[in-house]
């Protein structure tokens, strides 16, 4: 098994009076595509936000590339090489597509080759490069949010429910794009509710429930075991074929 790029050990997160994460332990191996699954309210988004330092872990520790990042500020965590794509098509709507991308480039300049690659993944972004991101459709906004994370090579990409609310045709487009990202060797931690998408992309899977990890293993095992899917996720595979 490759060495872990990201390790969470006994991570607890409180938001106000609520104890959301209750001892989360898992690893993201370098170069792997790990999918974090779980029902609504299981703590998946909180896990990503805690990794990014947007919510501080009240206990436990988070190590990234061998360094403890638990108490670091969010900009420092981002600068250390983690890109984060929040849920809900999170673009800066008052800025143009180009400005959104430049904002994500730490050097302030976009690499032309990288941009061409992004345009090949999401052609719509090339067509609307100079337009305000707020005028894009939901799917295009989601493409832009992901493109922002890809504009520079990052060690780890955290993606929160990229297919949420998108039409099936766009979900297919999104999966193809993530496959290319995976083939390019990126390490990705993806939160996803769409099991079909998760199954097509994931090497490893982590399942959460009530702020705890209830399963971790290879995605191929979970995909092949419908009883396990039923127990962990309440899924009938027939419904997802």
């Amino acid at each position: 098994m490759p060495d872990p790029l990201l390790t969470l050990q006994g991570v607890h997160t409180h938001i106000g009076h609520y104890h959301i994460l209750q001892g989360v332990d898992f690893e993201v191996p370098r170069g792997s595509f790990t999918v974090l699954l779980g029902r609504n309210g299981a703590g998946k988004t909180t896990t990503l936000r805690t990794i990014m330092g947007l919510w501080k872990a009240s206990r436990g520790n988070i190590r990234f590339a061998g360094e403890d990042v638990t108490s670091r500020a969010t900009p420092d965590i981002a600068a250390s090489g983690i890109a984060y794509v929040p849920e809900n098509m999170s673009v800066f709507s008052g800025l143009t597509v180009q400005e959104n991308l430049i904002l994500a480039a730490r050097t302030g300049k976009i690499d032309a080759v990288r941009l061409e690659w992004i345009f090949s993944l999401f052609p719509a972004l090339q067509r609307f490069f100079g337009l305000a991101a707020g005028t894009l459709s939901g799917g295009q906004k989601q493409m832009l949010a992901i493109a922002r994370a890809l504009i520079e090579p990052r060690d780890l990409i955290l993606v929160d429910e990229p297919t949420k609310g998108l039409a099936p045709a766009i979900v297919g487009n999104m999966i193809r794009a993530f496959r290319e990202v995976k083939n390019a060797g990126a390490t990705v931690l993806l939160v996803e509710q769409n099991f079909m998408a998760a199954r097509m992309l994931g090497d490893a899977v982590v399942v959460m429930d009530d702020g705890r990890i209830v399963h971790r293993g290879a995605m191929a095992e979970l995909a092949a075991d419908s009883a396990l899917q039923q127990r962990l996720l309440g899924l009938h595979m027939e419904a997802h074929q």
């Binding site: 990014m52 947007l54 500020a73 969010t74 900009p75 981002a78 600068a79 984060y84 929040p86 999170s90 800066f92 709507s93 008052g94 800025l95 400005e99 430049i102 904002l103 994500a104 730490r106 302030g108 719509a124 067509r127 609307f128 337009l131 005028t135 894009l136 459709s137 939901g138 799917g139 295009q140 989601q142 493409m143 922002r148 609310g165 998108l166 039409a167 099936p168 766009i170 487009n173």
Partner: protein, 378 residues
């Protein structure tokens, strides 16, 4: 060339372009277009307020920071020049010292307030700035030996800027170019340069980060931008520009007092100018400052004339009395907010964009949203 001067930020509306060019033309040639002191006073005040309002829009419109301490920085500029000129005499060295001191004090104070207070929620930051501004106003009123107290400070400006000074022996276009006109052009060009500099700031990568922070500070942090540092730096730039506007007003009026620089009435005026012109666009500062200053300067006289017309009619004469000009200004404000919720500039730009969009759609149906649509809600 034009694009570089405007930092690529065009007005994006023919009506707005026309209005801005008209304002620029009138302000540039005001000493030669009008006679009498009042029009030139109004023009100088418009120049000062364009810079002041634009600097406030950098905070409110571009960064999403609500501050009530902006007139404090305006006052620091005014008092910096006033104290230096009144204490050290009417020399350029004294003025330069006053300018440097005022800008240094304004910048440092803005940085301190920003670093200590911008971590808190917006409403608390607004309250902190209100408290600091009130304390500064009280301090300026109480330290009468230093600031002149409620009476303020009268001082003499360097000879070149005095009304008695003649730049040319012969009149130019029938106007004697005296020190007053020289002062006006100093105010005009510094305000113009300050405005263009702010335009550069908001259209730079730094400006994009500020807009990103305004939209969603967590997302901006997640991209690696330390929000407090960026907000504090925006506060410093804004405060320095406000202080510069205060220095210009001090040079123009040759008087600085709490009522001309520090009062909350000015803060409210600045807020109204930003809202009427349009938040998040510096051209809104130009439109808002021009309309409000003209309305405040001429509405009482217009109301007085209308009052005389309706003198025989009891209710109408009261309503149109010169003393009621603030009521009409309030009504104009309510109407402008109702009809132009995004400000005049926002409305004009949206109107032009819709018009162009309509034309483009007829020519080419390829518009954003035609691919990658979200699933329709059930």
């Amino acid at each position: 060339m034009f694009g570089r001067v405007l930092s690529g930020d065009y007005p994006r509306s023919p009506i707005l372009t026309g209005a801005l060019l008209l304002i620029l033309f009138v302000l540039a040639f005001a000493p030669f277009l009008f006679t009498g002191a009042q029009p030139l006073n109004v023009a100088a005040k418009i120049c000062v307020f364009i810079l002041l309002v634009a600097s406030y829009d950098l905070l409110l419109g571009y960064t999403g920071i609500v501050s009530f301490a902006h007139t404090m920085f305006f006052g620091i500029g005014g008092y910096g020049a006033a104290i230096a000129l009144s204490r050290l005499g009417p020399s350029w060295a004294a003025l330069a010292l006053g300018i440097v001191a005022a800008i240094a004090v304004a910048g440092t104070l803005a940085l301190l307030i920003g670093l200590f207070s911008l971590r808190v929620r917006a409403i608390f930051f607004a309250m902190i700035t209100l408290a600091v501004a009130t304390a500064f106003l009280v301090l300026a009123s109480q330290l009468s030996g230093f600031t002149g107290g409620e009476d303020g400070l009268n001082y003499t400006v360097p000879e070149l800027l005095r009304p008695s000074f003649r730049l040319f022996a012969e009149p130019i276009f029938g106007t004697i170019v005296n020190g007053r006109i020289v002062t006006y052009y100093i105010v005009f060009f510094i305000a113009l340069a300050g405005f263009l500099l702010l335009l550069r700031v908001v259209n730079s990568p730094f400006g994009s980060v500020l807009q990103a922070i305004r939209e969603n500070e967590f997302r901006a942090e997640a991209l690696g931008y330390p929000v407090v540092v960026y907000r504090s730096f925006a506060s410093v730039v804004s405060a320095v520009m406000a202080a510069l506007a205060g220095i210009l007003l001090a040079l123009w009026l040759r008087y600085t007092g709490p009522d001309t620089t520090l009062s909350f009435a000015i803060m409210i005026d600045v807020l109204l100018m930003v809202v009427i012109g349009g938040m998040g666009t510096l051209y809104g500062a130009v439109i808002g400052a021009t309309l409000m200053t003209i309305a405040e300067s001429y509405l009482p006289a217009i109301m007085g004339s209308l009052g005389k017309v309706g003198a025989g009619i009891p209710f109408l004469s009261t309503l149109l009395s010169a003393d009621r000009w603030l009521l009409w200004l309030g009504i104009l404000f309510i109407l402008s907010v109702y009809f132009f919720p995004t400000g005049i500039v926002g409305k004009l730009r949206a109107h032009w964009q819709n018009k162009r969009h309509g034309t483009a759609q007829r020519q080419d149906s390829s518009t954003p949203g035609d691919s990658g649509n979200t699933r329709p809600s059930n």
